[in-house]
Symmetry: C2
Subunit: 344 residues, 2 copies
DNA sequence: ATTAGCACTCTATATTGAAGAGTGCTAATA
DNA sequence: TATTAGCACTCTTCAATATAGAGTGCTAAT
């Protein structure tokens, strides 16, 4: 798909992109002539630029202005740096050492990942929590809240804990509930939700009508949870929006407003991250590539993470302007995803 | 403290404020002459306005512009409408009916309150969760996660559920943990955390060293939790910021940026709401009144809520421009606080 | 193949001017 | 004495205009 580019052309394209990443202003031929390693005059650079524009890698916002990279331009650039740039050992060490996992549940770990990535990248990180539909159950506990409400605590593999309140069909004593908890835990050991349903239906104690109705309650709840994330806040973690506001592309009212509006509704981001989850490794969505048409000029770097057992999969991403610093951002996302794999 | 105002003066002040609330533009004498019930010429209104300005209730942004209310002006206005305006029965019904509390824990209930208040007010609601330091304990359950980690589920009065992971001093079997849970629950019934510590220390089973170390673990955790909210996201709930962005006072880049920055750090808001919690009923902070110096032109309406038993106290607030519609916003906050009292 | 030179285009910024809104003051009025 | 009409004055806002500067494309020279 990708056209072959002369070394000279590549050099000019890289120069333009790297300069544009820093200044956010269209880059002129004179500047490139002075900066890049090719010793050519501005006139020659102009010829090359005209050619690059013809091929679609750069673009003039208006007649006789400087050049700005296009999506294809970024793509080409990313492909070439992907091979070379790696995260420095020092930075690796820095990230790993500031990750505090003692006594933290998954929620806090994911928040930490978001905050860390926010600090090192200055863009807006997003993290999708592992879906527990296919995670193994570790423990279920029934706790009495009052006459008509029970709390069901469900613990999954990978530190995922879920609290759910279900209404009881009658007033249970805590002692009775505890007995059921024990009984249920003998069955569930190491199954996931789908499997559990079968197991329960088979091993159910027919005499115990109340036990059965309890089980019905939780199964019903699991069904509900499967296709609908009850609480988006436990599913998608969004880092500081402020980081993006500092970027010059959002320095006017209309744009900043559309930016905030786009993130207010988390569904678009969730969709994007769910897509990324299904793929292996790093993926990059640039500008108008996606159905992300809400905001032009935005790019998203995503990576999936998964526990060693293969369950508990989620994904992590970083949203920035298309003009983002891919050379440092991509390795950062990549490393963070790996780190999450290790921890979970 | 408040000066007496002639009826005529009051009428003009009200007119100015109510017009300013709608248009956000300085209000001129001609407009007031045409609109308000006093049948006076613009020249007479001008005299009154000059007088009101001298007293500090209104202010001219620049020589020979219209008038804008000052903080004192708003205060006076609020005091007079506080006596008359009430929420309509219809709106009460609407709010109450869209409040769905079945099977929800406190977290979801508070989110619902935020969303509802956001919808009816078009400003930015904030809610402080009840602190559970003084709430009664209902249940504690130990669940084994792996060899070295235990999950402690703590259930408080009022539907507050907390999960905490503590590291174990040795490998406990789940059966053993369950026994401890039962034993502990016999003791805790109806005590709050502070009381519980005494009770535990007195009734502790001296032979059971491992039980003791477990208890030590949770007591330690409670101490930690008391003066530090571990996760701000479970403590402060913030509604849609977008609502504020639509207000004309934030229609330029610098202001919108300082607005977002001010809310990025939740500590200021938390401080404010904790202050409100200690007071009874509705309180209103206007503009530069508070140490809220970050953003001039912002007002906060707050109200405290508490369960009937007197425990589980929190507070609720609404942030808008000083130029906010107090006549509808104040009753809305007030009613929402009452509703929370009923539900919890 | 490369470059110097030049006319040209377009943006960004400052300047100007006119229109409009609102005031304060004074003198006239009821 | 309280109110109002009239008028000169101030200040903002908005659009039109002018100017400077950056960057280009093209041509002719090297």
């Amino acid at each position: 798909m990708e056209e072959f580019l002369n070394e000279r052309f590549q050099e000019v394209l890289h120069c333009i992109i790297e300069e544009y990443i820093v200044t956010a202003n269209p880059v002129g031929s004179k500047f490139i002539a002075g900066k890049c390693s090719l010793n050519l005059s501005s006139a020659s650079i102009r010829n090359i630029m005209a050619s690059l524009e013809e091929k679609g890698y750069i673009h003039q916002p208006y007649f006789s202005a400087g050049r700005v990279p296009t999506s294809s331009g970024y793509k080409f650039y990313i492909n070439s740096i992907l091979k070379t740039k790696k995260i420095s050992k020092q930075q690796k060490e820095e990230i790993r050492s500031s990750f505090n996992i003692s006594g933290k549940d998954i929620k806090k770990i994911l928040w930490q990942a978001v905050h860390l990535l926010s600090e090192i990248s200055h863009y807006m990180p997003i993290v999708l929590a592992p879906e527990r539909t296919y995670a193994n159950l570790l423990h279920i506990e029934f706790i009495k809240l009052d006459k008509s409400n029970l709390l069901v605590v469900t613990v999954f593999d990978g530190g995922i804990v879920e609290n759910k309140i279900i209404s009881a069909d009658r007033d249970y004593a805590q002692a009775e509930l505890s007995k059921y908890s024990v009984k249920l835990n003998e069955i569930i050991n190491g199954h996931n939700i789908d499997e559990l349903k079968d197991v329960i239906l088979k091993s159910i104690d027919k005499d115990r009508k109340s036990f059965f109705s309890l089980l019905n309650g939780i199964i019903f709840n699991f069904d509900l949870a499967k296709d609908k994330i009850v609480n988006e806040d436990d599913y998608l973690y969004i880092g500081s929006r402020m980081n993006l506001f500092d970027e010059p592309e959002f320095s006017n009212y209309e744009k900043i407003k559309s930016l905030v509006k786009a993130f207010e509704d988390k569904k678009t981001i969730i969709k994007l991250l769910e897509l990324a989850k299904q793929k292996e490794g790093i993926h990059i969505f640039i500008g108008s590539d996606t159905e992300w048409s809400d905001i032009n000029g935005l790019s998203v770097i995503t990576a999936s993470y998964h526990s060693k057992k293969g369950f508990a999969e989620g994904s992590i991403g970083l949203i920035g302007p298309s003009r983002m610093n891919y050379a440092t951002a991509i390795p950062a996302v990549n490393y963070m995803a790996k780190l999450l794999c290790d921890i979970i």
